[in-house]
């Protein structure tokens, strides 16, 4: 029997879910579960390592990325539903000494 590939969504407000499965590759399906037991099948875009995140809805550039119902960063690119979300398309908005440096925008 094939092992069920699960992604967990912590809070209703979240637009990402965390995949706890090894070897997730572009085009594979995962089952997104929330705490209420709701389930949704999602097709993953990109190769996603264990414990990394995917978008459960479309996220536009500059839009807040939400996990635990709270801000964890902003999108630096257009992100499709199912797409891998990490440091390549998510920017932290805290501890940004680079933004406050003289001459920085």
């Amino acid at each position: 029997m094939e092992e069920l590939k699960i992604a967990l969504k912590v809070n209703d407000l979240d637009n990402v879910a965390t995949i706890f499965a090894n070897g997730i590759q572009d085009g594979m399906d995962v089952e997104v579960r929330d705490k209420k037991g709701n389930k949704e099948t999602l097709t993953v875009i990109g190769n996603v390592p264990y414990g990394h995140k995917v978008a459960v809805k479309e996220i536009h550039i500059g839009e807040q990325i939400t996990k635990y119902g709270e801000e964890i960063g902003v999108a630096t690119k257009e992100i499709k539903k199912g797409e891998y979300v990490h440091v390549h398309n998510l920017d932290s908005i805290r501890g940004r000494g680079d933004w406050e440096k003289e001459g920085a925008e």
Partner: protein, 388 residues
């Protein structure tokens, strides 16, 4: 209510271990302290890197941290090893530790004629101190006398969803039983500080939480770069944590749900404060483990995802691992598998109850994995100013 058995100290506190602490008053005394420690069973020492050529507030901070380490209930007697010309106040250390009623001695390397002589004389003194406290028996103690330090390190995304949930469960249980829980890692409040401030017992404590986070973030930003890779670390990022906000939101889960009573200074030692407290401290292991041992914690519950092996000289550290793959891979370092929550084989409550039973066993004397392996070196003192 459940009881446990520990070593009662003259100030009424109860220790889970009965050690003679060999305390170097300055980093220059480390080799003497370490040689004595290697020679004499029943001792521990603290290989820190501070105590001279620092600004006065930091020298006071080092002095007070070392005093607080000596006041730990896990320490039964103290030998201070001074070089003689250091910036810390070794006389104050001696006076304040002697006043605790624990056997306390001090040696000065320069006055004794050098390193070899100091090792010989210090070894004899340490042997006598070990003998003096060797007859102390464990006696009954209440759960309300427990001071538990909590921390997470080498985190990944399983930490906030499994191992920190387990620690949050036991933190709530211990606070309900009248005990004390201390958490820190101020850097890892960034992005979650509003959730903590809401749980403060009053507005003053809430404002203090915002203040310590602002100060920590300002220190990071003063370097003029993105703090990412410093926090979260490259290992955190590889483990799926994308930002400090995501790391923080997972980290604060370990504090449970109870009201936050107040914020403790890094050096502060507590005796009768109950409930949930914050210790203002950075996230890095040597500095926060030292701060927590200085608080007076009898042990630490340490959550990890990627596999942190650290231990401290005078405070047993229980490793609760949220990542099922890491637990299998690092079984000799990990005490409890919270990864079974991720795989759906156990609930948070089930693993939480196992963790609570384990912490009582450790308080009663059972060795943690870090003690069995003898990983004791996660020790250093967090200073604020430059070395000059």
């Amino acid at each position: 209510m459940t009881k446990w058995y520990g070593y009662r100290r003259p100030d009424g506190s109860v220790g889970s271990r009965n050690l003679v602490a060999i305390i170097p008053a300055v980093t220059c005394a480390n080799d003497v302290a370490n040689a004595i420690c290697r020679e004499v069973q029943g001792t521990c020492t603290y290989m820190h890197h501070q105590g001279c050529c620092q600004l006065p507030p930091d020298l006071e901070r080092v002095t007070e941290t070392l005093i607080s380490l000596g006041k730990s209930p896990n320490v039964g007697a103290i030998l201070i090893v001074s070089l003689g010309c250091e910036g810390t106040d070794h006389e104050r250390m001696y006076k304040e530790l002697k006043a605790t009623g624990k056997p306390t001695e001090i040696i000065h390397i320069q006055a004794l004629g050098g390193v070899s002589k100091a090792i010989r004389i210090g070894t004899d003194i340490a042997r006598d101190l070990v003998r003096q406290i060797s007859g102390i028996q464990r006696t009954e103690a209440d759960v309300s006398e427990i001071i538990m330090a909590i921390k997470c390190g080498a985190s990944d995304t399983t930490s906030g969803m499994a191992s920190n949930c387990v620690i949050g469960y036991i933190a709530d249980k211990l606070v309900d039983a009248g005990g004390t829980v201390v958490f820190g890692e101020t850097t890892e409040f960034i992005g979650g500080e509003h959730l903590l401030a809401k749980r403060a017992v009053n507005e003053e404590v809430g404002n203090k939480i915002y203040q310590i986070v602002d100060e920590m973030e300002a220190r990071a930003k003063s370097i003029g770069c993105d703090m990412r890779r410093g926090q979260p670390t490259p290992g955190n990022i590889e483990g799926g944590l994308s930002s400090i906000e995501e790391k923080s939101l997972g980290a604060i889960v370990k504090s449970g749900t109870k009201p936050i009573q107040g914020v403790l200074d890094y050096t502060e030692h507590i005796t009768d404060q109950k409930g949930l407290w914050i210790k203002d401290s950075p996230g890095r292991e040597p500095e926060i483990l030292t701060g927590m041992a200085a608080t007076g914690a009898q042990f630490m519950c340490f959550s990890t995802g990627r596999g942190a092996p650290q231990g401290f000289p005078s405070m047993p550290v229980i490793k609760i691992c949220g990542n099922p793959n890491t637990f299998e891979n690092m079984k000799d370092d990990m005490d409890l598998n919270a990864g079974l929550i991720i795989t759906g084989e156990k609930t948070i409550e089930e693993v939480g109850e196992e963790a609570f039973e384990m912490l009582l066993n450790v308080l009663n004397g059972e060795m943690t994995k870090n003690e069995a392996i003898q990983y004791f070196s996660a020790i250093d003192i967090h200073c604020l100013g430059p070395v000059i």
